[in-house]
Symmetry: C2
Subunit: 343 residues, 2 copies
DNA sequence: TTTGTTTGCGCAATCGATTGCATAAATAAT
DNA sequence: ATTATTTATGCAATCGATTGCGCAAACAAA
């Protein structure tokens, strides 16, 4: 009943009166095998319904065809899209992706990396946790000579390939767009700028203002956790303080959404009274009323790029590993929330 | 420089003048090893920074500690949340999750399952493709005696454990809620009812109407792909045909969203003129204006349940495998889009 | 014909851990 | 004191594929 007994290369070998070595070589396309035996091997392999045991292969060859992928949160559109991107490239090359999430907890991150190493993955693609300050676990990956690719959340402490988007440029585009719409009093929602990406967005905002001769006003800059509630309270503060402002550029869509709610509740028109731009292009941004202008980071493409960097590193493993930093260009997706003048 | 040479149980054995067998047994908590040697083994294992090679272990023991997880689309909130749920349980038990997506293409689905088997996963958790009519690849999984758990999209053709939510109940709740709000002319957006879940939602809708003495009107029932565009066109049809309707229950949030857009564009008040309920509780539903009432399927919990069923099956593998069908109860999340009478 | 190359394949070790079956030593039972 | 048990460990095969080295046969060159 149970066909649990799988056929191995030995079964094929026996049937053809050759050795397992020959079968292995034939299956792997080794040129030192004659055409006739190769064909015979292929044929009986098919007949016997042979499926290679990747575990055995992995043990001997040291290659598992597995990529460990670590993200802060699996079920967030940005990250799940990156996973998707990686998976697409990996699968096309017969690699599989193991996913783990850190939930921004350092211990989880460390454990996940260790688990990946024990599972003998061929390398790791990861986005580091918000609060991670120590990188020994990643160093170990590099010490073993395994490819390590960081995306989005990276660190200068590690000499390895990275993919990020140009956060500066995204913020610059967003802010410039608001200025072009005639806004001059543009608030900015950001966070404690420990992480590069938010620093960069801030810098883009500031530089865009400067380049257009607008003075930065600290009273218009709010720092928080960039969640919906933060956006709400920032907006409430703006209103309570009777700040003069005609636009908000938020480093996160969620905070922008919070602001949108508060502004609407207070009878302000968007974009008439206040124009609004977010960041991340979360799926919900096209469903708000008005739809929210945001910055697309092309997460699927980022996943593709990360995977490509990974396979580059894998190829050059034996040679020199030259860490490569790829910077993707973001795109401003203009929607009604910021369109004061219809185009 | 490169500490590539990993320590193995043989290194530990040599240092302690015992054999690898003893070390292996000590590490695995075999009771036939004395306390003293066990401690010694543990100690030197730590000293030598020993990390087990799971590949070697897997080859011999036949257990890889890997779960293959197949979803139609990784980057959709519902599925990524389920992955998250599975990952949480799996990781806590020292299992890892390999994810693949079918994109609703049968070949992808088949290949993914084969790839999982070649990677020698310990079992599979999957949601079958929309158009899958053939189940040989899944049969193979069962023939090998591996646990197979299906979630959300299941099929009666396979004798295996399943987790679904009670779509009937969700639809019944949603429809009843609309009736309680005073609606009597309730439209329904559905799809060609090949897949169980939509059949069930339809049935819940119909039964709720019947139970409240409301006659079903075929003119109010629309079938399509349940995407935003479908919702828009259904709503346009309703308006064009001058149908008398005061509510819409859509089997998908996207179609509900499309309807919301069209209704608002035509100056109708929601929920004043038309009350609206969706299904799935997509993240965006709380950000629409008005926020969209929807049915929560508890995807993370569904992932937990799927994982638990998986490990149950794994335990009882050797014994009788009793397929278990778990039905989770959905929850109606009431938001402004359907609240005619404030509570 | 003799020597030199290819070509095609076999031998046997190896990857690192697991495990059924001995076996020696220690302990208990008679 | 002798036999029966238990306890602790070793031996060696095994999981299935890969691979360096070697060797015979076939072919080419001289």
């Amino acid at each position: 009943m149970e066909n649990i007994k799988k056929t191995t290369i030995h079964d094929i070998a026996q049937k053809l009166n050759v050795t397992a070595s020959t079968v292995s070589r034939a299956l792997n396309g080794n040129p030192r095998i004659s055409d006739s035996t190769r064909k015979a091997v292929m044929k009986t392999a098919r007949e016997l319904n042979y499926e290679p045991n990747q575990i055995a292969s992995a043990l001997r060859s040291g290659r598992t065809q597995l990529i460990g992928m670590l993200v802060p949160t699996i079920n967030r559109a940005f990250f799940s899209s990156i996973i998707r991107g990686v998976e697409e490239v990996a699968n096309s090359l017969d690699y599989r992706v193991i996913v783990s999430q850190s939930n921004e907890v350092f211990d989880n991150e460390e454990n996940a990396v260790k688990a990946f190493l024990n599972a003998r993955v061929d390398g790791i693609i990861a986005s580091i946790g918000k609060n991670t300050q120590q990188f020994d676990h990643y160093e170990q990956v590099l010490e073993r000579g395994l490819p390590l690719v960081l995306f989005d959340r990276t660190t200068p402490h590690l000499q390895t390939s990275q993919v990020v988007i140009d956060d500066y440029q995204g913020a610059y585009l967003a802010t410039s767009h608001l200025i072009e719409q005639g806004c001059t009093r543009i608030a900015h929602f950001t966070t404690e700028r420990k992480i590069d990406i938010y620093k960069e967005r801030y810098r883009g905002y500031v530089n865009a203002l400067e380049d257009h001769g607008i003075e930065r006003d600290e009273a218009l800059i709010f720092s928080g956790n960039l969640q919906l509630e933060d956006g709400r309270s920032h907006a409430e503060n703006l209103l309570r303080n009777k700040e003069n402002f005609d636009a908000i550029f938020s480093a996160s869509d969620y905070a922008a959404m919070g602001a949108m709610q508060v502004l609407k509740e207070n009878g302000l028109k968007i974009p008439g009274d206040v124009a609004l731009v977010g960041f991340l292009n979360e799926p919900f941004t096209s469903f708000t009323d008005p739809p929210l202008t945001s910055v697309n980071q092309f997460p699927i493409e980022m996943g593709h790029t990360a995977a490509n960097l990974f396979f580059n590193a894998l190829d050059s493993e034996k040679k020199k590993i030259i860490p490569k930093k790829t910077v993707l260009q973001p795109e401003l997706i203009i929607r009604a929330s910021s369109l004061k003048n219809s185009l």
